[in-house]
Symmetry: C2
Subunit: 333 residues, 2 copies
């Protein structure tokens, strides 16, 4: 099978590496492998119908800042220039209008390609439309990497908890906020904790999407649509970020043996992101940059899962599980 | 499809209930349903090729203590008396020689039935032999319910972490020991904590299998064989239980902000159950009767999962996921 990697930042590069490392695994499992026949970044692209050399792509990106030697005018020109089966859409998330990611996913589905994505924007804004399009073209649109990075949650619900009604999911879906809140637990004011998160590379120069809760809201929307069968978008989420949390609130929590965490909450009726008081020792009181989710199920009670919530290789691990899922179905395991 | 429930204690009764409750779900997903055509307990059995009424079985068990009105001489006579596709083997675990569970699983596989089990004994003692038998007959032998009750772990590795090398798994696999150790954390001596666990129904009258670490060892063996591709049995596990832990050890741990937990550890080379010092706040410091596992993966780093480690309905939830897995393969989802 043949994949086109759309977006060649940290995640795209990690996906390319993982696919290259798993060539033997694919051959053993399917009798054939997964070739990267195309890759593009914001300006350039490279294609080879017989499979690109991933090391060359990574080296070129490192040396010259571009993945390919060819320049495209429109992304679809690059996508049209080689035959492929799966689009791996990992361009940057745009939660205003879905950005190029939305266009790329639609273009691929319309041209009968399966799609794996870690791009939250398109799914948080146009979930129903995209799933309908995928169904019409009898294609997969898989997105484990959009929620919680390496933490399995979409597929956990689909496979491990199959058949059970899910009553609710509450979780920490933004490692940056959790890092800041953890630092505030130990006495730092918000501004200082944020600066430290930026120095550590956890927060971006403009931290709005994280600290205002918008990133968590995207994830809550994706869970609501995919696990609870709802039809909601980003604007339906009741969002409160962490910018108004001060030292007094943290101290008050502490005196009650509690911590403050930014919790996303979703059920058949709930759709909310807000700071919550969590008893110390509770699974949702997790410190640091991990993501975690507490899934309340029909028969199994609460199942809690946690993992590294961001990062190239961690997100690539989620994308790998989706790629395998598609190859299992298309080729048979 | 048709199932025979072998063993009608807490787990068997819960499985029967769950299957009855999921009739609509099965019809929606497969266009057909899953009938319980046979059920047996230690003495009696009931069969109906058109499907037994689960409510009648449960009521008879409650009123008369037997699931059926017929008495069998040998279990295989009962199994032979009706045609079925899947054996659900949930008789009591026997870790000395596998007990009737081992015989039932072998008998079913040899007669070309798929098998779902929560019975740890047969898999902890004869994993390789049973898997070979299943392969020879082109049958499934699934066992999510043998490790950690409702906590997904076997299928989590198979699906969510597909393609990744698993480096190690460490976990709390026995809720009874964890309950006792949690009580000891707050100052109770071992004997008193054990007595309380027995009063709460968490520990059996003879608590040997739990407190000596044998139950945890079974689970570690099953993980070693199924996830790490090893060929080990119960006797290969290096086991230390919790009976020698005294108040001094607990106090010493506490003074270092640690707790003592009975940890099962498995990797390509490790196979061990022993009390360990765990920093307070670490995922493996979990209090109470929950089970938890920290899975260290090739790309995703550590993934931690926790859930209710025992109980009829919780184990039935794991069995349901295995039943769906088989029906997905046999009928197609």
């Amino acid at each position: 099978m043949k994949a086109f990697i759309c977006g060649f930042g940290t995640i795209g590069q990690s996906v390319a590496k993982v696919i290259a490392e798993k060539q033997e695994f694919f051959k053993d499992r399917y009798g054939e492998t997964l070739l990267v026949v195309g890759a593009l970044d914001s300006r350039s692209f490279a294609t080879d119908p017989n499979g690109l050399d991933v090391d060359v792509l990574l080296e070129r990106k490192k040396q010259k800042g571009t993945v390919g030697e060819q320049v495209y005018r429109e992304i679809k020109d690059a996508l049209d220039s080689v035959d492929f089966d799966i689009l791996i859409e990992v361009t940057a998330t745009d939660i205003n209008n879905g950005g190029v990611g939305l266009e790329n996913i639609k273009y691929a589905l319309k041209h009968d390609k399966d799609v794996v994505t870690a791009n939250k924007g398109p799914l948080a804004l146009r979930y129903k439309e995209l799933m309908t399009l995928a169904d019409e073209h009898n294609r997969y649109l898989l997105f484990e990497g959009t929620v919680g990075g390496a933490m399995p949650i979409i597929n956990l619900n689909k496979y491990d908890l199959a058949g059970q009604k899910i009553k609710s999911i509450r979780g920490i879906f933004n490692g940056t906020c959790n890092y800041i809140l953890t630092k505030m637990d130990s006495g730092q004011p918000f501004e200082q904790a944020l600066k430290e998160a930026q120095q550590q590379g956890y927060a971006e120069a403009d931290p709005t999407n994280d600290v205002e809760g918008y990133d968590s809201a995207c994830k809550v929307v994706i869970l609501a649509n995919s696990i609870f069968g709802r039809n909601v978008t980003f604007k339906d989420v009741d969002i409160t970020g962490i910018t108004t949390i001060n030292s007094d609130a943290i101290a008050l929590a502490k005196s009650n043996d509690m911590v403050i965490r930014l919790i996303g909450e979703v059920s058949a009726t709930k759709l909310e992101v807000a700071p919550r008081l969590i008893p110390r020792g509770h699974p949702l009181s997790l410190p640091g940059t991990l993501n975690t989710a507490e899934i309340v199920t029909e028969y199994a009670g609460p199942i809690t899962v946690s993992g590294i919530g961001a990062g190239g290789i961690e997100t690539a691990s989620a994308i790998l599980s989706d790629l395998i899922d598609i190859m299992d179905e298309r080729i048979g395991d």
